[in-house]
């Protein structure tokens, strides 16, 4: 689907803001992700058009950064850190507990489309409050099973997606996003398969 008008305006503003319009690629991708929930190939070629750059460049950049999603995910995203400092304080157990409570595997979305969860070894910068997880980009530190239960409960009942970052997001809650979750329009393009 084509980008919403506010997003396009925002991309054009961003391009003017930097000394080089290419610098606007990452902010533009953020804007798109806030509008649509993930970054499609169509959106990338649209960004390329607005910035006047070859689309391959947008894809090269977008695929490099781990926070840009290439397929639709649940309304809320939950990332639990299992890197060593968190592991020392029991992140593995919390991740296992989260998995059990949500009933889906790492990287998957719950059947009601509410939550997509990941465990990541990329440090999120809250080692002092380990074990921790990031819920819609906000930190939840010093996790206990009880806290996890409470968070899951809150997210499941929250009908709206996580609040977008005010500076970049276009206030466009997508009510039909749940459908997208059930049937991704396009399978993610074949990437590396690791054994």
């Amino acid at each position: 689907m084509p980008l919403a008008k506010p997003t396009v305006t925002q991309i054009q503003e961003l391009a003017a803001r930097y000394p080089s319009k290419q610098s606007a690629i990452i902010p533009a991708l953020w804007a798109v992700q806030h509008e649509q929930g993930y970054v499609t190939d169509a959106a990338m070629s649209e960004i390329a058009q607005h910035l006047g750059l070859p689309p391959s460049l947008i894809e090269a950049t977008a695929s490099f950064y781990s926070m840009f999603l290439t397929r639709p995910e649940g309304r809320h995203d939950v990332v639990i850190c299992v890197n060593a400092p968190c592991m020392l304080r029991g992140a593995d157990e919390m991740a296992a507990y989260l998995e059990r409570q949500l009933g889906v595997r790492d990287g998957a979305t719950t059947s009601d489309g509410a939550i997509t969860w990941h465990s990541t070894i990329e440090c999120l910068g809250a080692c002092g409050g380990a074990p921790m997880m990031q819920v819609d980009h906000r930190f939840e530190e010093n996790l206990t099973p009880e806290r996890i239960d409470a968070i899951i409960e809150r997210l499941r009942t929250d009908p709206l997606p996580g609040p977008p970052h005010k500076g970049e997001g276009v206030e466009a809650p997508t009510p039909n996003k749940g459908e997208d979750v059930a049937q991704p329009k396009k399978p993610a393009r074949p990437r590396a398969r690791k054994n």
Binding site: P54, S56, E59, A60, S63, R189, P190, A192, R193, K194
Partner: protein
Amino acid sequence: MATVQTDQVTLTVNGQSVTVPKGTLILDAAKKVGIDIPIFCSHPKMAPVAVCRMCLVEVEKMPKLQPACAVYVAEGMVVKTTTEQVNKYQKGVLEFLLINHPLDCPICDKGGECPLQDQTYQYGPGASRYQFDKAHFDKSVPLSDKIVLDRERCILCWRCTRFSEEISGERELALIQRGVHTIIGTFNDEPAQSAYQGNWTEICPVGALTSRQYRFISRPWDLDRTPSVCPGCSMGCNIQIDARNNKIGRFQSRENVAVDDSWLCDFGRYSFPNFQRQSQERPRIRRGGRLEDVSYDEAIAFTVDGLKRAGGQAAGWASPADTNEELLLFRRLFRDVLRSPHLDHRSATVVDAEPGDMTLSIADIERLEHVVLLGGQEVIDAAPVLHLRLFKSQRKGVTVLKVGAGQVAEAVAGVSPDCTAVGILATEANKAAAVDLQTKLQRKIKGSVRRLIVTTGPNGRGAKDLGILPHLGPGYVALNGQAGTGRTEWPGAGLRALYVHESSPLHGFTPTDAESMWLPTVPLLVFHRFKPSPLDEMAHVILPGHAFTEKDGTVTNMEGRVQRIRKGIDAAWVREDWLVFQEIANQLGASWSYESVGQITSDLVRGLPPYMAVNQEARVLWSERP
């Protein structure tokens, strides 16, 4: 890339002292004293990136190993390339490169000429300690209709993506994903559009990018390699004809810094199927409306008979893909033996050629300040490799101005008066405008204005130089009062014979509507050609000839550089084209006695001294004329 400066530095490589200009890379300095440092990512035409880490060497007073492909020499530097540490590391990096490389050399087209294979033999470990399954990626991905990509074989040297960015400027190939998952590809795996994709296969140091046309055709050691010149256009890019069992497998580029800068365009590179001989045909004569197979002698006798009757009313058309030697004999056959001025090599009437059309050389484009591309994309289409030269110049700071063929005023306005060197590039069709522009610019600016007219065909320039024109003799001498008619005037000129000679289907005699009406009325149509064409239907005599890739000789490119072409494939049953001309001429009363192409070349140089250039593969300079 090494930049040449006046001051020199002296360094020691493996105990050998070497003096090189400042700004030379360690790699090139070592090469100068014959020390080979293994590389994958480094490429002499591209800026160093030092990503493959194969070339790390020990430099005294530097704590870490240094990439020889990215570190510039310094005075008194002591470089060691064969220490234990370096050797151990070279084994290590090759082991790293191979852990996720499929090692499917037996089915890989690069096998046998693969830098990864060669260097593994020379520097690599005997065995791998990697005991896990390799990372798997997509294999044989069609990147376009010309290129097949094998993502498993890719070692991420970035050469192709850098080519796309630095050499062709299209930025079509890019790296996608990161870390061990990194792959190369086009946006959304859409087919690549680039007109220079073939070069990717040549710079790829593994078998990741291979040509679809050459897929599984041959092993490199089976190939017979012949240096020659590309038959695609008038650029005159140097190629190597790789043939197996007398069948062309591929065209590879051959570096000539003055012309192609080691690149080829896809049009030229993938044009070779046009030069594939389909059958062993024999000469034919039309008798009673039917073509009958005859011997060469019989066909020549028939032709001589017809030409004798036509005399001065015989016209000759030689294609701009003929060699200079053939053109020389062809001209002499018509002008001296038959006494006919009706000679041409062109497909349409274009403004007269003159030596001033090639005052700008291809390599000099880089040294200009301003280039005007009169006709814009038209010029690039006529000689695609020019784009690479223009992009390179642009990166060096040359302003490239693309204007339409009619926009002379805009072009003049676009150049500032204090420019010192301006060049104009235009096709033959726009020559008049180019001359007009040149005059106007010359009046406006202080510096020099030169032009380069892109001719048609690999030897269009040679045909003009040698006088295959109705009104000009060799060396652009006017034929005062003896001018004949050009190709467009022939229908209706009451000609009694037409001799068409062509050796490349890319630059053949394609009849216009008027000619299609006229040709059946010509009493004698001799068609001396390489490949069957619709003209066969009207011809009275068909003489099979050699293709551009099947003969020896010289051709002249658009800037007047005379280069040799050589016989890449052998078609022994076909009589040499020049021999046929000689026999026809001798039967018409001449007494030529050439025994080889070389003798004709010597004769050509004797009659036209500027063609001495052929012996230096240099440009023909008509400096004595305005």
